[in-house]
């Protein structure tokens, strides 16, 4: 029985902040490449700095995760589901870090300046190369869709824990409002009054 039953407050804060940023990024991404209107430039000028912010937050989050780890999953969760949970979390961490790097690399390989805001640039991380640009463009494109699919599965699983299994997994990452309670199980027993 470990004393840490929930993710630590910084982990929960980062999880929800980044969930908002990443969802926004995915929608901005598909939105911007499907319009020629002036909002194209506005969306692109949000996409680059927000993506960079996600990279920074993801690296901080990874460090926090390695330091504080995660509360164990409920012992009665079937092994295949535990495995799926762990693999999907690895995938999400990988995508949060790799997607911005690919975006940055793709622009570098095309010799575009990577402007974050007026006059502030990221340095180029790759030489000009049509091949690299194409590989990275494809990676950014297909991984973006994979990212969204993994997120949807992740959300479905979280809701499954929250309203069907009601096993405390959701509350472990729940927005920081609920009070921590130490219960007899591996997971906190949080009052579950919602019914219906």
């Amino acid at each position: 029985m470990t004393p840490i039953r929930r993710f630590t407050p910084p982990q929960r804060f980062l999880h929800w902040l980044m969930a908002l940023c990443i969802l926004a990024m995915l929608f901005i991404g598909v939105g911007m490449v499907s319009t020629v209107a002036p909002k194209y430039l506005t969306l692109v000028s949000i996409h680059k700095p927000l993506g960079t912010l996600i990279l920074i937050l993801a690296l901080i989050r990874l460090a926090v995760r390695l330091r504080y780890r995660a509360p164990p999953l409920p012992p009665d969760l079937p092994e295949p589901l535990k495995l799926a949970a762990h693999l999907s979390h690895y995938a999400l961490y990988a995508l949060m870090i790799v997607m911005p790097l690919i975006g940055w690399g793709m622009l570098s390989a095309a010799a575009y300046p990577v402007e974050l805001w007026d006059g502030v640039y990221l340095p180029s991380i790759l030489p000009l190369s049509d091949r690299l640009h194409t590989v990275l463009w494809n990676a950014h494109y297909y991984l973006a869709f994979l990212f969204y699919v993994v997120i949807l599965m992740h959300v479905a699983a979280a809701l499954f824990h929250a309203i069907i299994r009601r096993d405390g997994v959701f509350e472990a990452m729940g927005p920081a409002l609920t009070r921590d309670k130490v219960g007899p199980a591996d997971r906190p027993v949080v009052p579950l009054q919602r019914s219906g």
Binding site: S34, V36, A37, L41, Y148
Partner: protein, 353 residues
């Protein structure tokens, strides 16, 4: 699982349906944002597809418009006067490296030079502060249409087999008359070095005090234009423009003066088919000096996108809708042509040589 947490089967099903509905809505929102439910939305893909030449095969590995061109390098010599309009370093007195491309407004990379009415110039100036100013200009004094939508309609009308398509287009887009008159009556020259190139689009210069100035700019040739009849040009060698500029620059640099024209309050900035009156304040800000010409094939301009929205601090876009549309379409063209690098005649001579 403790008994207290177990739900009756009925509510489990109800809640599974709820979860499925949430996920389905989220997936639909994504697809909607991507434009899959909005066939009327003008996308960069549609604009670039509309540039497919007659016959249906795009020039693989080449730019989807202005497909034929030749690279140049040189410097931009700023005289310092532009600093009163913009705080961008490129206007501070000094010499900054320039890379560019003379080109022809055609989707055919193997076209005969003498047959193309509109000529263009792509330019990128880099400054020590790490910033870049990219632009792509043409020799016409006005753009044929007022909006990016109009340009798309024009491309569709030009590609249409219906003999009424162009007359109908001209009726619904009367602004094209100014361009058509220029195309019919303006003199032709036998050299890129004798042509004037215009930004046409309006941008905002921001000066050191934060004040904003709506501007357009042009490159005025130092060489005296010599008028040549188009019938005469059509008879010249297929690549005569590229050969002429190569030989000319071998003998000494070619020069253009950059002239920035400042709008009066009330002048339209959103419509490149409308010229500003002749009496607007115009400021000479420097000289483009072209020192070397290189074939596009292995030249430094080939894999550069002269995206007119790559601007240094001190220059920004205005309410002109073209730069955004161009940026999105040029990126699409760039994505496609770099992905087709295998098909680009890298080392073999171009088809027309």
């Amino acid at each position: 699982m403790p008994e207290s947490r177990r739900l009756p089967t009925g509510s489990v099903i109800g809640r599974l349906v709820l979860i499925a509905a949430v996920i389905a809505c989220a997936a639909a929102a994504f697809v909607y944002t991507g434009g899959w439910f909005s066939p009327e939305r003008l996308t960069p893909d549609k604009l670039v597809d509309a540039l497919t030449p007659p016959g249906g095969a795009p020039p693989l590995g080449h730019r989807r418009n202005h497909a034929k061109g030749v690279c140049f390098t040189g410097v931009f010599e700023a005289n310092g006067v532009g600093s009163e309009l913009s705080h961008a370093q490129v206007f501070a007195r000094g010499e900054y490296p320039a890379l560019g491309r003379f080109n022809l407004a055609t989707t055919n990379p193997n076209v005969r030079d003498g047959t193309v009415r509109v000529r263009g110039l792509g330019l990128m100036i880099s400054t020590p502060d790490g910033q870049e100013w990219r632009m792509a200009m043409i020799d016409a004094p006005v753009f044929p249409v007022a909006t990016p939508q109009g340009f798309y309609q024009l491309l569709l009308a030009q590609a249409s087999k219906d003999p009424n398509a162009m007359p109908t287009f001209a009726k619904t887009h009367p602004e094209i008359a100014k361009f058509s008159n220029w195309a019919k009556s303006a003199p032709w020259t036998g050299s890129y070095a004798e042509d004037r190139f215009n930004s046409l689009n309006s941008f905002i210069f921001v000066d050191g005090s934060g004040a904003e100035h709506a501007v357009r700019w042009s490159l005025l040739p130092a060489a005296q234009p010599v008028v040549v009849a188009p019938e005469e040009l059509a008879k010249r060698r297929p690549d005569f423009l590229e050969q002429e500029i190569t030989e000319r620059v071998r003998g000494g640099p070619a020069r253009w003066t950059m002239l920035v024209t400042v709008a009066n309050p009330g002048d339209t900035t959103a419509d490149p088919s409308q010229p500003w009156p002749q009496d607007r304040r115009a400021v000479e800000v420097g000289t483009l000096v072209v020192r070397e010409i290189e074939a596009e094939r292995n030249g430094p301009c080939r894999d550069i996108n002269f995206d007119p929205t790559v601007l240094p601090s001190g220059i920004r876009t205005s309410d002109d809708p073209f730069p955004a549309a161009r940026s999105s379409a040029y990126a699409k063209s760039y994505d496609r042509r770099t992905a087709e690098a295998e098909d680009y005649p890298r080392t073999a001579p171009g088809g027309s040589q």
